[in-house]
């Protein structure tokens, strides 16, 4: 049996988190979703600190879905940190945000975001988006070991 992909969702708006969760249900790959509400929690998760100290319960994600406007530690910061970390930088980080701001896009890419997605209005679109993500990053894409 294939190991299920671990997806880390960093999102402060729980409505949005729900949307993503619902969309993910349409994936045909096995996955496990972990959700954190702000940048600080995201860091804790990735570095196995605080409540995420146990790597078993907080496994290394195969993909991170990252919102930009986060309290405490901002999404850009999280991205930067991940991509600067030798250990974590291989993890694909897909920005998932409501911001269409060109500055945000540029900034994200300058911090080596793997992809930048704008949260769509339509749920259908969201589902499509998420399925593509899954296919691409979890089914097709190869990760280093």
């Amino acid at each position: 049996m294939e190991k299920a992909s671990v997806i880390l969702l960093v999102e402060d708006n729980d409505d949005h988190a729900m949307l993503v969760t619902l969309a993910l249900e349409e994936l045909d790959v096995g996955y496990v979703l972990h959700w954190v509400r702000n940048g600080a929690e995201a860091m804790d998760y990735l570095y196995h600190r605080g409540e995420f100290v146990n790597p078993e319960s907080s496994p290394r994600p195969d993909m991170i879905l990252l919102d930009l406007r986060l309290p405490l530690i901002d999404g850009h910061e999280v991205l930067k940190t991940v991509k600067e970390s030798c250990d974590l930088r291989a993890i694909p980080v897909v920005i998932l945000t409501s911001s269409q701001n060109a500055g945000d896009i540029t900034k994200a890419y300058s911090n080596y975001a793997n992809s930048y997605l704008v949260k769509p209005m339509s749920s259908d679109t969201l589902v499509e988006m998420i399925i593509s993500l899954g296919d691409y990053w979890l089914k097709w894409n190869r990760h280093p070991v």
Binding site: H16, L72, S98, S123
Partner: protein, 1086 residues
């Protein structure tokens, strides 16, 4: 005609033969060169004659035939014919042929009888022997002469045959001491020739006789009859005498000649020796040596017994050691007393030259002295033993002396300088005498030459001494530019130790070979042109390798004939001199430059007030050239009245020696009158000459400038006085020198009260105290006051600043000041000026504008941020709604209703949120737009207002609220600040967290001179990293928490609009203190 009888038969043949024979005979008869005559013996008639005979006779044949021969052709008389009458046989007999013209022809006649036709005839044949006869007679004559000659000859002539003298001439006999008769036929060579020489002689004779050699000539000795031996020179050659061989020759008595030869040889030898002597005497040697040589030679050559030379030393006074000088009487008293003859050379028997009697002979005394003194140029006697003129006969006899000769030594152009004398055992011949005389002349020349040489040497020594002593180098070269001599110091220059090392070398061999070409070129020029080249400056390389400078003069050297034979050079090392000159020149140039660069006219005058020096500035002043000045007095350049003053002052300086500065007037070249101050100083030079050195300081311009300045200054003050802006001027000391009307009005202080006062008097009306103000900043860097001014700006040369003056008489005003330094014509600051303008209105307007601008800017920024935030944040709930609707729809389609409620609730919440967001957004924008005019209100009132609004919540939270006392007044929009306080208090409550005793403190403090209000809680605090973010619009730490997150953004906006600032001081878990400040008063200080 001869005819002979013959037969006819043969006649015919015989006739023919006869005829032929006859012909034949006729031919012979007619052609022979013998004269033929046929004569009848009886009649003595000539029968026939041949042509030859006819020719000889000189008649035609026909005339001869038929004549009688006697007395016709033959001188013999008739009857005396030798043939017929005397019956002589004439056969080759010499006869005479007579000729009709009377001449007699000698003939050789032969007469033979012939028969012609039966008749007897006589045939005479004769030949002409006239020539022979002539020759014979000649020969005879010659022989006679010869004999005569032989007889008289002074050479001996001999003829030897068979070893005997067959003939000798008298001389020959004489030579041998015999008579002719004693010799001829009796003696032979062997008898007379010296025995030792006989064999040779014999041999010689034999040679000649046998024909080995034709003639011989040799010398031999003979013994005369007396037994004397003499020498003869013999010549001889073979001859025939009486048809037999013999030797004939001559003999010459060479005895005398031999003697003479010997004598000559001796004489030549002597001459040679004398020449050699002469030659040797030419060589350089000491005089004594030469004279000794002479006396030695005299002894040798002439065989003298002894020979001596005395020479005089003129000036040699008799008292100085001459024993003869003591003599006071007698024949040998010294007459001259000032010169003596000193014996200098002696050869032969006596060689010593010292000795009491002879080493020194008074001039004019004794034989020697007499000869020397010239009384007798020469004295010669060949009989010393008896000659009365010689005084010591005994001595002469004793030694066996025979002759004495004394010769005066006198050079050709001078007086006698000595004597050459000799004694001899032989006679002195004339020849000897002549030679000795010549020798004495030569001796005199030698002595003279030596004396000249000595003088020359002495002279040379002096010259050498001089040239070696002087510091000038001297050298001389020949035409080939080879050094012939130099002085020592030159030699050293050349790198040699001694002068003689230089001789023979040329310049290429000297240490200055680099300059050789240069020197040689000059040398050649001098030699070729024959003219001196003087004072050439040229370089020279020293033995150390340095290059020095020389001053050289080259002069052509001429022979006595006037030809140039070389060049003489002298030079001095002028390197130092040059250096000094250069230094001096430089120094002089330097001084000149200095003097001429001084802008003030400078002049020097002598005691007679004539200019000796003027600089460029002086020349410019009077517009004259330097040359025009020198030697002239000022009267030539300037008006009399002015110059009178100058000179008067000059005199004072000359007299007193004291420096003087005097203000005078002078008219310059353009006719302008200038005011000057002339400083005059006395200068006395090393010789005591006095001069005055004057420097003119033209103060005309200064004076003018001063006046102008005064005028300008007064003008300026007038202008200042009428300026609309308040203006005052201070001088360097800070004293007020100008105070215009406007500032009188502004400050209320009158000019007359403040003029001349310093010590920041001018600050009083502004600040109420003495303190530096803007104007002082110019001249000093006073840091404290810089801070008191807003916008201090240095613009160009001035300083601008603004200040708020709360304490002015007219009330609080905003003033703008501009201050600048004032410079005089020299560019030096002499004071400062400040202008002050009341800009209160402007400031206000500015502030208002600034405020408006700021507002607008901030509004714009806000707007942007706002737009962004709103669009972003509003979008969020939209996404929620839209997404959830979508899922709801999809669920419903699938018939799944489990989550429907959740969806709907969330959708509803989202919409509510959107509404709230919109509301707050509007609120925020409203705050930005609408501003109530601020007013002064006590802060405490605001706090109370706020508390009353939140009273319910406060109560619910059990929070304890404390409010500070002595709240100041603030100048704000009251309602807004109340809102702020409400918000902050609410936040404080909201974020209490688990705090058991929630407390909220509201207070104020002063920090850094600023008033700050704060709301402090002891809640959960804020992470320091978030302290800025929290003021961002719609930022929420916790999304789920109450509100839109716009609260603090709104608060911040309000505070900022009021002109304050808000920040938070907090730490996680330690509560938060929100601080902000507010304007207490309308505006800040000026």
């Amino acid at each position: 005609m001869i005819s002979t009888k013959t037969d006819t038969n043969d006649h015919h043949r015989s006739d023919e033969a006869l005829a032929e024979r006859e012909n034949y005979l006729k031919t012979i008869f007619n052609s022979v060169q013998i004269g033929l005559l046929v004569i009848d013996p009886e009649t003595h008639l000539i029968f026939d004659v041949n042509p030859r005979a006819a020719k000889l006779i000189g008649l035609d044949g026909s005339k001869i035939i038929g004549t009688i021969c006697h007395q016709f052709i033959c001188p013999v008389e008739a009857g005396m014919c030798p043939i017929t009458d005397l019956e002589q046989k004439i056969d080759d007999s010499e006869r005479i042929l007579l000729r009709p013209d009377g001449s007699r022809l000698p003939v050789l006649k032969t007469v033979i009888p012939i028969i012609i036709d039966g008749h007897d005839y006589l045939l005479e044949s004769f030949i002409d022997i006239s020539e022979r006869k002539f020759i014979e007679s000649e020969l005879q004559e010659s022989e006679a002469k010869f004999r005569d000659l032989a007889e008289r000859a002074l050479v001996g002539i001999y003829l030897i045959q068979d070893g005997i003298f067959k003939y000798v001439n008298p001389k020959f006999a004489e030579i041998h001491g015999y008579s002719v008769d004693e010799m001829i036929g009796i003696l032979g060579p062997k008898d007379v020739i010296y025995p030792d020489d006989c064999p040779i002689a014999q041999e010689n004779i034999r040679k000649r006789l046998c024909g080995e050699c034709q003639s011989i000539h040799y010398e031999t000795k003979i013994v005369t009859k007396n037994g004397d031996i003499r020498s003869v020179e013999l010549y001889g050659s073979r001859t025939l005498y009486q048809c037999r061989p013999g030797v004939v020759g001559t003999a010459l008595d060479t005895t005398e000649r031999k003697h003479a030869e010997l004598s000559l040889e001796r004489s030549i030898m002597r001459q040679k020796r004398l020449n050699l002597l002469k030659q040797d005497l030419l060589a350089s040697a000491k005089l004594e040596q030469k004279l000794k040589r002479i006396t030695d030679e005299v002894v040798e050559i002439f065989g003298a017994d002894f020979c001596r030379i005395w020479i005089t030393s003129p000036g040699d006074l008799c008292e100085t050691g001459c024993k003869h000088a003591a003599a006071t009487d007698g024949p040998h008293i010294c007459r001259y007393m000032d010169r003596c003859l000193h014996l200098i050379s002696s050869s032969g028997r006596y060689t010593h030259i010292d000795g009491e009697d002879h080493s020194r002979v008074p001039f004019g005394c004794y034989k020697i002295g007499l000869v020397a003194s010239g009384a007798e140029h020469k004295f010669l006697t060949n009989d010393v033993q008896n000659d009365p003129r010689v005084h010591n006969h005994e001595w002469a006899k004793e030694i066996g002396l025979v002759s004495f000769a004394g010769y005066q030594l006198r050079p050709p152009d001078g007086d006698a300088i000595g004597v050459l004398a000799l004694f001899s055992k032989q006679k002195i011949t004339n020849e000897d005498d002549a030679q000795l005389d010549a020798l004495s002349n030569m001796t005199a020349l030698v002595i003279q030459a030596d004396r000249i040489d000595e003088d020359l040497r002495a002279s040379n020594r002096i010259i050498e001494g001089i040239i070696n002593a002087i510091p000038v180098r001297v050298f001389w070269k020949n035409k080939d530019l080879v050094y012939m001599g130099c002085n020592v110091i030159f030699a050293r220059d050349a790198g040699y130790a001694d002068s003689k090392d230089v001789v023979g070398k040329d310049d290429y061999q000297m240490v200055w070979r680099d300059q050789a070409e240069l020197y040689r070129a000059d040398d050649l020029q001098v030699i070729e042109s024959g003219r001196s080249k003087l004072f050439i400056e040229e370089p020279q390389t020293t033995p150390e390798g340095n290059v020095i400078v020389l001053l050289t003069s080259k002069i052509p050297l001429r022979s006595s004939k006037g030809e140039v034979v070389g060049v003489l050079g002298i030079y001095l090392d002028i390197t130092e001199r040059n250096q000094m000159e250069t230094a001096l020149r430089d120094s002089k140039e330097y001084l000149d430059k200095i003097i001429n660069s001084i802008g003030d006219p400078i002049f020097v005058v002598d005691r007679q007030h004539r200019h000796t020096l003027v600089n460029d500035a002086m020349c410019e002043l009077s517009n004259r050239a330097r040359e025009e000045f020198i030697g002239k007095t000022p009267y030539d350049f300037f008006p009399k009245e002015q110059v009178d003053v100058f000179l008067q002052k000059d005199e004072v300086v000359f007299e007193t020696g004291k420096e003087d500065s005097n203000e005078e007037t002078i008219t310059d070249s353009k006719g302008a009158i200038r005011t000057i101050i002339t400083k005059k100083t006395l200068y006395t030079d090393a010789s005591g000459n006095k001069s005055i050195v004057g420097i003119i300081n033209d103060i005309t311009n200064r004076k003018k400038a001063e006046e102008k300045l005064k005028y300008a200054h007064d003008q300026l003050l007038e202008i200042i006085d009428f300026l609309p802006d308040a203006t005052f001027v201070i001088d360097k000391e800070g004293k007020v020198i100008a105070w215009n009307r406007a500032i009188e009005v502004m400050t209320g202080i009158q000019a007359k009260e403040i003029l001349g006062k310093g010590d920041y008097e001018y600050a009083i009306p502004f600040y109420g105290e003495r303190r530096p103000v803007l104007i002082d900043l110019l001249l000093q860097q006073v840091n404290e006051i810089e801070d008191k001014y807003e916008h201090i700006e240095r613009k160009d040369e001035s300083l601008e600043g603004e200040a708020y003056m709360p304490n002015m008489k007219a009330g609080a005003v905003y003033l703008f000041g501009r201050a600048a330094v004032l410079y005089d014509s020299a560019g030096k600051p002499y004071g400062a000026i400040e202008s002050i303008r009341d800009i209160t209105e402007r400031k206000r307007a500015e502030q208002t504008r600034e405020g408006l601008v700021k507002e607008m800017e901030s509004k714009n920024a806000e707007m942007e941020r706002f737009t962004y935030t709103v669009s972003h944040d509003l979008r969020s709930p939209l996404i929620t709604v839209s997404g959830l609707v979508g899922f709801l729809k999809s669920d419903l389609e699938k018939g799944n209703t489990t989550r429907t409620d959740t969806y709907l609730e969330r959708i509803s919440n989202a919409i509510t949120k959107m509404d709230n967001l919109l509301r707050d957004t509007l609120e925020l924008s409203r705050i930005g737009r609408v501003v109530n005019p601020p007013d002064s209100v006590n802060f405490d009132d605001i706090v109370q207002d706020a508390l009353s609004q939140v009273q319910e919540r406060v109560r619910k939270s059990d929070a304890k609220v404390t409010v500070a006392q002595d709240m100041p007044d603030v100048y704000v929009d009251r309602m807004r600040i109340v809102e702020v306080m409400v918000n902050l208090i609410e936040n404080g409550i909201k974020y209490m967290g688990d705090q058991a005793h929630p407390e909220i403190e509201i207070g104020h403090r002063i920090k850094d001179g600023l008033y700050t209000f704060f709301v402090k809680d002891n809640g959960i605090g804020i992470d320091p990293g978030q302290s800025d973010k929290i003021f961002e619009l719609f930022y929420k730490v916790n999304d789920k928490s109450e509100g839109t997150g716009a609260g603090l953004a709104i608060v911040k906006r309000i505070i900022e609009v009021q002109g304050g600032r808000i920040w938070v001081e907090s730490e996680n878990g330690k509560g938060s203190t929100f601080c902000f400040n507010l304007p207490l008063q309308p505006s800040k200080g000026v």
